[in-house]
Amino acid sequence: MAALEVEGLARHYGEREALSDVSLSLEAARTLVVFGPNGAGKTTLLRVLATLLRPHAGAVRVLGSSLPDEAWAVRGRIGLLAHEPLLYRELTARENLRFHARLHDVAEERVEEVLEAVAISARASEPLRNLSRGMVQRVAVARAVLHDPELLLLDEPYANLDPAAIELVEPLIGAASGRTRVVCSHDPGGGLAEADLVLGLRAGRTVLLRDATAVGPGEIAELYR
């Protein structure tokens, strides 16, 4: 069974269509990369898959559970890396991660594990307010993978990260992690390289939905015109 099954998904914002008739199917351990200009609906799609927004029409099945009715069953198996780090600036990295660990019923040792993995252990006891944006992003990555999710939803994950940091988080959230991934990206070259399936959105509608091997960077650039 596919990890993600979306059929005719629609979501409106007042009288405007944020997403309209979006359909796709993604196998487990594969990567879907979503391209599109700002306002195309990429973030909305991600948030629907994350169970944060309910679909207004259409059918969505994530990891076997249909949304929104069975969202509770699948929440603990999804990791979201959004535009915001979803962390409290006044608390330290360790306190933030411990809080999330308790929410997800994850052992405390795991917190130290991920802190090590993103190389933040040295500054894990300082309030996030004192850390640079790149470091906060690393802590956000740690938060996203803390509970070892099967599905990763990543909204422009490499923004704010320098090449060294990108190398660091690759094994956690990259293709090598073996998890099913949906990535929103503005980078045609890099995005295509890691994609198995490509979705191009414009104004909430599907403009392009193809296997990554059948798509060239030029077509991606077209979307933004």
Binding site: R47, A50, T51, L52, L53, R54, W72, R75, G76, I78, L80, A82, E84, P85, L86, L87, Y88, R89, E90, L91, E95, F99, H100, R102, L103, H104, D105, P127, R143
Partner: protein, 224 residues
């Protein structure tokens, strides 16, 4: 559920201890207000109805300060999403926030009531304490429940500092009625008596009804 509430409470208290943005402000506001009342009413000491009224109004307005800030950290720092992504019962947030606000109110009263007794209150508090504690407890629960509900409503709006109090105050009028009426005989100058059971019952019932309503409605405020 209990684990989730515990985790949320720890986070709340940690953030409050780190930022100290609610409780000191509320307490200071209360004490300052007593001073303002002294000058506004031109009285050195008050008792009975007047004392009861001043105490409750001051506590109420100080509580509003806390209510305004209750969800701000979550709304601004993406705390809602973080919580909404977790496989937990969402009512835990309501319980945790009500308990947090309750804790703030208790600390507020620990500062404000002695300050009141010192600055403005005529009769001594000694005998009135048990009755006062019960009344304050019942009133606090009501303020905490309604305050949390209103705070959650207001935080997602553009004029949250203004709408919060405007929504909360009418809803809190019955609590003021019950609380002030119950406290007034406790603070009477001559022949102070116990708090009338009728008002305590009113407070208790109001707390119960709104507790149930808040519990039923809160989830709708969180989800999208």
């Amino acid at each position: 559920m209990r684990r989730t509430v515990g985790a949320l409470l720890r986070k709340e208290l940690l953030v409050e201890l780190r930022t100290l943005e609610s409780v000191p402000g509320m307490s200071l506001f209360a004490v300052t207000t007593f001073v303002v009342f002294h000058f506004a009413l031109n009285r050195n000491s008050v008792d009975g109805d007047l004392a009861s009224g001043i105490l409750w109004v001051t506590l109420l307005f100080a509580a509003i300060l806390g209510i305004n800030r209750l969800f701000v950290a979550d709304a601004e720092e993406g705390g809602f999403d973080g919580f909404l992504l977790a496989p937990v019962d969402r009512s835990a947030m309501l319980v945790a926030k009500v308990l947090t606000l309750l804790a703030y109110l208790v600390v507020l009263e620990i500062v404000a009531v002695p300050a009141f007794a010192l600055l403005l209150l005529g009769p001594s508090l000694g005998g009135a304490m048990p009755g006062l504690l019960v009344t304050l407890a019942l009133g606090d629960i009501g303020v905490a429940v309604i305050g949390t509900l209103v705070a959650a409503l207001a935080v997602q709006t553009r004029a949250r500092d203004l709408l919060g109090p405007l929504l909360a105050l009418p809803l809190l009028v019955p609590i003021v009625i019950g609380g002030a009426r119950a406290t007034s005989p406790l603070l009477a100058l001559s022949h102070p008596t116990g708090a009338p059971a009728r008002w305590l019952l009113t407070l208790g019932l109001y707390d119960l009804v709104f507790g149930l309503i808040a519990y039923a409605l809160f989830d709708f405020l969180l989800e999208d």
